[in-house]
């Protein structure tokens, strides 16, 4: 028998160079003008072109959530999002959460609760939690679970992560509804 086909389920590279597009996008508030091949995923561009390796790659299949970033505030799996689709858009990665001097409350609380072990899921988990609290500042336990259900963690058993998000929500003042 002869087997000259790929043994990997990943499609074989065609060998033909993909088109290159000039893309302007903003990452963590900084503007970038980059030349991006049409077939590049966002996580690869963030990690390799921009050196932002806080965004992790765990499955390349939208199953683990380690690559979660915010695209105009919405959480997306950046492994499965084409970078050229980000023209003119704002991306936030885990590197954009903390200020120069202080951890973000979610970062502080996930450490305080013991919700970080190996840390590989943590950036994606934080981005999902951040997106959740932006839209729902006072989530119930169940809403936290739904909001983070796209992020796998193998170390913690999740309880301390739920606790960290709940503690962050509890300590963050919710703006009263505006008058009138």
């Amino acid at each position: 028998m002869t087997d000259t086909t790929s043994t990997s389920p990943t499609p074989a590279a065609s060998g033909a160079a993909a088109d290159i597009n000039a893309v302007s996008l903003s990452v963590n508030g900084a503007p970038y003008n980059v030349a991006i091949a049409t077939d590049r995923n966002l996580s690869g561009v963030l990690r390799n072109e921009m050196g932002l390796t806080g965004t992790k790659e765990g499955c390349d299949d939208c199953e683990c959530g380690a690559c979660m970033v915010l695209l105009d505030g919405q959480p997306i799996n950046s492994c499965s999002y084409l970078a050229i689709q980000c023209q003119g858009r704002e991306i936030t990665t885990v590197e954009g959460l903390a200020s120069r001097d202080d951890l973000h409350p979610l970062q502080r609380n996930i450490l305080a609760a013991g919700g970080v072990q190996c840390g590989f899921c943590t950036p994606g988990m934080l981005m999902s939690a951040h997106a959740l609290l932006e839209t729902n500042p006072e989530p119930t336990q169940e809403e936290i679970r739904i909001g983070l259900s796209g992020n796998l963690c193998r170390c913690t058993g999740y309880a301390k992560i739920i606790e960290a998000v709940a503690n962050t929500a509890a300590e963050t003042p919710v703006a009263p509804p505006s008058a009138g």
């Binding site: 000259t4 299949d61 450490l111 840390g119 950036p123 301390k160």
Partner: protein
């Protein structure tokens, strides 16, 4: 929401913010795949893609001809070395025969990962297919094809009885179990079958290698940097002094990253390419290729009892799926025998356990190897025993478990142990006996797991400003154990843990140690660090004695000061002593973990002794799970897990709770969803996270944990035992017994998927019915 939605409170757990925490939450921490070196190339492997075949042609020239490809290497390009623990049955690259689909034929280095994949695909591989071995029972037949034609052609070490497709055979024999069965009142036989499963760390493994002259530095996502280094040295025939293994932050391991994997492939590839090379695994590769996954098992167990439920004998035959190569699994047969025996007083034992070669992916140490499956079978069987004599499962266990001073089923006499307390604490916490809806039940599982003594060293130095460094061969795979080393050193020296930095995961600077395997970090590396810190403490006491004009034996080191016992006002800052030392005799310490001997046995004989017939500093535990089962769909949901663990003294409560919760969650996955399915061609059918389901945050039960802190002498630091593997052991058992209590019969296959639960409810679980549990009253008639 129900109470199950509320996570266990942790207010009572002292705060512990891990030293590597800020690095991990900000994204600044580097993992292996994050490393980029100047001129670095990308690596891809060409895999066999067939489970058993004789190689007739392997032509790499088409790959080498592709522009941008720097190197393609095969077995022809590395020393012809066979390696592995126990049976040296494997080479880096397949030669002549491939024995599982994930076997590496060739490695390619090219400018980009895409180009490397294209080149790997261009390699021409021709072969003659051989018959595959997939069925553990059929593999034992004389007529079975053999995975390895001649095991005796390999170098075999240790007490490793083998032959045919049997890699190792271990037994436990105590008394005369057959005779005891003949005269017993009640005899119950059961069969249980567990599928293989996977460690699934969220970080896929990665390796980066770079040569400088005749020395190579390998960055790798291993749990065991010294094993990785030794593997490179052995297979590439290099001295240890020229191989440096550095582990950046490690994104989880759970045993899957124990042992030696692809460090030598990438080092050899980098040397051939003349460039640094990086390998990053896909999730598919992570499922299919490494020789570390949890082994499938078939367990036939028969227990004989007196009418009052006293166990008089256990007989068992265990088949463990080794897969194609032995990796580190030579002890699995014996370990499985211990878990099927269980922590019970059993005066007559006959257990035969065989590790079987198949054409599956090789099995290897995943978090408490053989224990979750063995415990699941033993504990479901135990509930069947209780039912057969009309006893409550808890009461049945009370009558038969091992207690302090008892002799266990392999002939080991136990010093002070806390199994009895674990059983009572977990069952009380769960409200054993309370009324529950008719689709819910509680289930109990108990078990045990050893601690492991291994050589480990540590260095320590205190700087002139009073800060200090620990230099350790320990490996932080996430548990927090390495972080906890600071606390042990701080206790000895009397300074704040935050003043101590950790230098770890670099074989060039640290003394040897077992790394993050076998729950050994604190047990062994911790004792080494204590030893190193004590040497510095002794030096500080001498300096303080001079300074304070006191006796060194009277100096107390605490809160950053050296003071005279009983006279706290007579004191000097430790930082001042450190400054004095910096201009004289430097403050340097080194420590060695004293080797711990395995407990001796009496009255038993064991074939295939692999070091698992007695348990050093044994850990004991009990989990009680509340499970809801939908009888119409077979869907089971774990609502609560109540745990109690005797792991000796708890050194870091927050990290310990984290290990319990993570272990329980992994156990719930093994119980309900995590199982590898194989085709008739021995290849995996579900090597992806979409088809191999981990538990998500939405599935998480509430977990309630208590520790039975028995100070254990001749064990780890401060009377501690190991911890990280134990919580993974009894969860599936407790879930299984809860499911059985709801539906009225055990589900005899692991994982207990919705389909299998439903089949059991409907009486359709025929595959096992020929060997289904037969309960009969024998001698009492």
């Amino acid at each position: 929401m129900t109470e199950a939605m509320v996570p266990a409170p942790s207010e009572d757990v002292p705060a512990f913010v891990r030293a590597d925490g800020p690095d991990k939450v900000t994204g600044s921490g580097r993992y292996t795949a994050d490393i980029t070196l100047t001129g670095m190339l990308a690596a891809k492997f060409r895999y066999a893609g067939v489970s058993h075949a004789r190689i007739t042609r392997l032509d790499v020239e088409p790959a080498r001809a592709i522009p941008g490809v720097f190197a393609v290497i095969t077995a022809d390009d590395v020393p012809d070395v066979e390696f592995s623990y126990g049976i040296a049955d494997r080479r880096l690259f397949a030669k002549d025969v491939v024995r599982f689909e994930g076997e590496v034929l060739a490695a390619v280095a090219a400018l980009t990962p895409e180009l490397a994949q294209q080149a790997a695909d261009a390699i021409i591989f021709e072969y003659d297919e051989l018959q595959v071995v997939t069925d553990l029972e059929a593999a034992l037949a004389d007529s079975s094809p053999l995975v390895h034609d001649d095991l005796d052609a390999y170098t075999i070490t240790g007490d490793t009885p083998h032959g045919g497709n049997v890699a190792t055979h271990s037994s436990i024999t105590v008394g005369d179990a057959g005779a005891a069965r003949e005269s017993a009142d009640v005899v119950v036989s059961s069969r249980y079958v567990a599928d293989a499963s996977h460690a699934v760390p969220i970080e896929p493994r990665a390796v980066v290698a770079q040569w400088e002259g005749d020395k190579v530095t390998v960055y790798t996502s291993t749990q065991v940097p010294f094993d990785a280094r030794n593997g490179v040295c052995e297979t590439l025939e290099l001295p240890a002094s020229r191989v440096r293994v550095i582990v950046p932050h490690l994104g989880g391991g759970f045993g899957g990253k124990c042992g030696f994997h692809y460090e030598a492939h990438i080092a050899a590839l980098s040397r051939a390419a003349g460039r640094p090379v990086k390998l990053v695994f896909s999730r598919w590769e992570e499922f299919v290729a490494p020789d570390r996954r949890r082994e499938g098992m078939i367990i036939d167990v028969t227990t004989s009892m007196a009418a009052d439920g006293t166990i008089v004998a256990r007989e068992a035959d265990i088949l463990v799926d080794n897969g194609a190569y032995i990796a580190d699994a030579s002890f699995f047969a014996q370990a499985a025998a211990m878990h099927v025996a269980g922590p019970y007083r059993i005066p007559n034992v006959r257990i035969d356990s065989k590790l079987i070669y198949t054409n599956h992916q090789p099995s290897g140490s995943v978090r408490a190897p053989t224990a979750p499956q063995g415990c699941w079978a033993s504990e479901l069987h135990t509930d069947e025993l209780a039912a057969a004599v009309g006893l409550d499962p808890l009461e049945f266990r009370r009558r038969n478990i091992v207690r302090t001073g008892d002799v266990g089923p392999s002939g080991q006499t136990y010093e002070e142990i806390g199994l009895e307390q674990c059983l009572e604490l977990a069952s009380t916490s769960a409200g054993w006996g309370r009324d529950l809806p008719d689709d819910e039940a509680l289930g109990v599982g108990i078990g045990w797991w050893p601690s492991f003594g291994a050589p480990a060293g540590a260095y320590m130095k205190m700087h002139g400003d009073g800060s200090a460094q620990i230099i350790t061969g320990a490996n932080e795979c996430g548990t927090g154990s390495v972080m906890t080393l600071r606390m042990l050193a701080a206790d000895e020296i009397g300074i704040d843990p935050s003043a101590i930095e950790l230098i770890y995961q670099d074989t060039a600077v640290a003394p040897v140690g077992p790394g993050a395997s076998g729950s050994q970090t604190l047990f062994n590396h911790g004792r080494a660090v204590e030893g190193a810190a004590r040497q510095i403490a002794d030096q500080l006491r001498d300096l303080a004695a001079d300074h304070l004009e006191a006796n060194a034996d009277d100096i107390v080191l605490a809160d950053g000061k050296a003071s005279v016992a009983g006279s706290p006002a007579i004191a000097v800052d430790i930082s001042e002593l450190a400054a004095t030392a910096a201009s004289g005799e430097l403050l340097l310490g080194k420590g060695n973990a004293e080797i711990r001997d395995w407990p001796t046995l009496s009255g038993s004989s064991c074939l295939g002794e692999q070091g698992f017939s007695s348990f050093l500093a044994p850990q004991f535990f009990c989990h009680v799970s509340r499970v809801r089962v939908d009888r119409d769909t077979g869907v089971a949901r774990v609502l609560e897990v109540h745990t109690a663990h005797d792991s000796g003294t708890i050194l870091n409560p927050m990290a310990a709770h984290g290990q319990i919760e993570g272990g329980v969650m992994m156990g719930v996955g093994q119980a309900l969803t995590e199982g590898t399915r194989h085709g008739d061609d021995a290849r995996q059918l579900n090597p992806a996270l979409l088809e191999y389901k981990l538990q998500t945050i939405a599935d998480a039960p509430s977990i309630h944990t208590q520790f039975v802190e028995i100070f254990t002498p001749n064990a780890g630091p401060k009377g501690s035992k190991g911890l990280a593997e134990a919580p993974n052991v009894p969860t599936a058992a407790s879930v299984g017994n809860a499911i059985a209590a709801v539906i009225g019969k055990p589900v005899r296959r692991l994982p207990m998927t919705a389909e299998r639960v439903w089949e059991a409810v409907e009486g359709l679980d025929q595959p096992d019915s020929s060997t289904d549990a037969t309960t009969y009253t024998g001698g009492a008639q």
